[in-house]
């Protein structure tokens, strides 16, 4: 198994055992900044190698998927989860959006097996982050008058994760492979290690989410376990239909099948205060993330291969 995953387990064990191991907030911030910047930079460098011309249709389809997913999740959360409007919308926003760390684990899963993936995937990651959040907010508040849409839009589009991802993409794209070279030792060579530390922290947090599982009842556990596969399948089908490589298809499935726990929580907390923030976090971090890194990613990869031929 990919060693970085062991770090997640170590975090879980330490957390469950109530060890005093704890990441300072500043270190968590540094690690997540590096994660986002590096994924952006890598993506930008790849994009710089490929003509952007043909990309537009793909971009639109992916965006459409980003708008569709939350609309599929919302009714499920309402019906089966018996969640009120705000909470169902929040779940829709979280799972419609994407998990950067799951994506990173997926990438390292493919690297371990020397499987290449399409250069536009990091771009898709960025594209998929926002739409679901917007849809989620609309589902929760409707087109209420009095809502400061401008302010909200600003807070979403200039949230730090978007800024770092897009900024990284832009810099990587502008600098290109040659220009980035001197930055590689810091951003690229260290990436695996940074991810390992980040997963260690995620394990610690996940373990505390386990505890709040019981407060939330079965739906959280059930949805967290069962939602990823169908969502990822949609992602895989989309990836396949727009002609991605097996690697790329796998990653698009990972994006679709994972739940956000950085951008979405921050945005929803401000935009939909009535939604209980711990509910979707327990789902995505306590259930779906472990499911994806242990079961999901390999599964999605076989689906992708099967689709391709």
């Amino acid at each position: 198994m990919d060693p970085v995953v062991w770090f997640f387990l170590l975090g879980v064990v330490a957390g469950v055992a109530r060890s005093d191991l704890k990441f300072p907030a500043a270190i968590y911030d540094l690690l997540s900044m590096l994660l986002l910047l590096t994924i952006g930079l890598k993506g930008g460098v790849e994009l710089a190698k490929t003509p952007l011309a043909g990309l537009l249709p793909q971009v639109l389809i992916v965006l459409a998927m980003g708008l569709l997913l939350p609309l599929l999740i919302f009714p499920v959360a309402r019906l089966f989860g018996r969640l009120d409007r705000a909470n169902a919308a929040s779940v829709a926003a979280h799972y419609g959006s994407v998990s950067v760390a799951t994506f990173a684990v997926g990438v390292s899963y493919l690297n371990e097996r020397n499987i290449s993936y399409d250069s536009q995937l990091p771009l898709f990651l960025v594209l998929l982050e926002v739409p679901a959040i917007v849809v989620g907010i609309l589902l929760a508040r409707g087109i209420k008058v009095g809502t400061q849409w401008g302010k909200l839009a600003h807070e979403i589009f200039f949230g730090k994760s978007i800024v770092l991802l897009v900024g990284g993409l832009a810099i990587g794209w502008l600098a290109g492979p040659v220009g980035i070279a001197p930055l590689e030792p810091f951003f690229f060579d260290l990436f695996k290690g940074v991810l390992a530390l980040f997963l260690l922290e995620m394990g610690l947090v996940a373990s505390s989410e386990f505890r709040s599982l019981r407060n939330h009842g079965w739906f959280v556990l059930g949805f967290g376990m069962l939602a990823p596969l169908p969502l990822a399948t949609i992602g895989a089908l989309v990836g396949w239909s727009i002609g991605l490589t097996p690697g790329g298809t796998t990653l698009l499935a990972v994006l679709a099948g994972s739940g956000s726990y950085i951008a979405a929580p921050a945005a929803m907390r401000i935009a939909v205060p009535a939604a209980n923030p711990s509910l979707p976090l327990t789902m995505s971090l306590g259930v779906t993330f472990p499911f994806n890194i242990f079961v999901g990613i390999p599964l999605y990869f076989s689906i992708a291969k099967w689709l391709q031929g």
Partner: protein
């Protein structure tokens, strides 16, 4: 020492709303505020600051009675129901009256 009585408002709440809260405080007439990072536990469970969404802040405002009341009113209407938040108020003597 030329000093006078003021209120010291302390708000402990989620870091997520820092920007909006501070804007509101200024809008409500506070001449200033101070923020420190915090963690803690309360009716909404333990918030231990390791993960970004579980961080607390402690916001303090020195102001006169009127503004204090307005802030309390504003928080009750806009935040108390949906956010992890407590607020308490104490009496302080200040120097540099012009500043509060």
């Amino acid at each position: 020492m030329s000093s006078e009585k003021r209120k010291l408002i302390s708000i402990i709440t989620e870091a997520a709303i820092e920007v909006r809260l501070c804007e509101a405080l200024t809008a409500l007439g506070a001449r200033g505020y101070t923020v420190t990072d915090a963690r803690g536990s309360g009716s909404r469970g333990v918030r231990n600051a390791s993960w970004s969404s579980s961080r607390n802040i402690r916001v303090e405002i020195v102001c006169d009675e009127a503004i204090a009341a307005r802030i309390a009113e504003y928080l009750r209407e806009n935040y108390f129901e949906d956010y992890a938040m407590i607020m308490f108020e104490g009496d302080v003597k200040v120097l540099r009256l012009d500043k509060f």
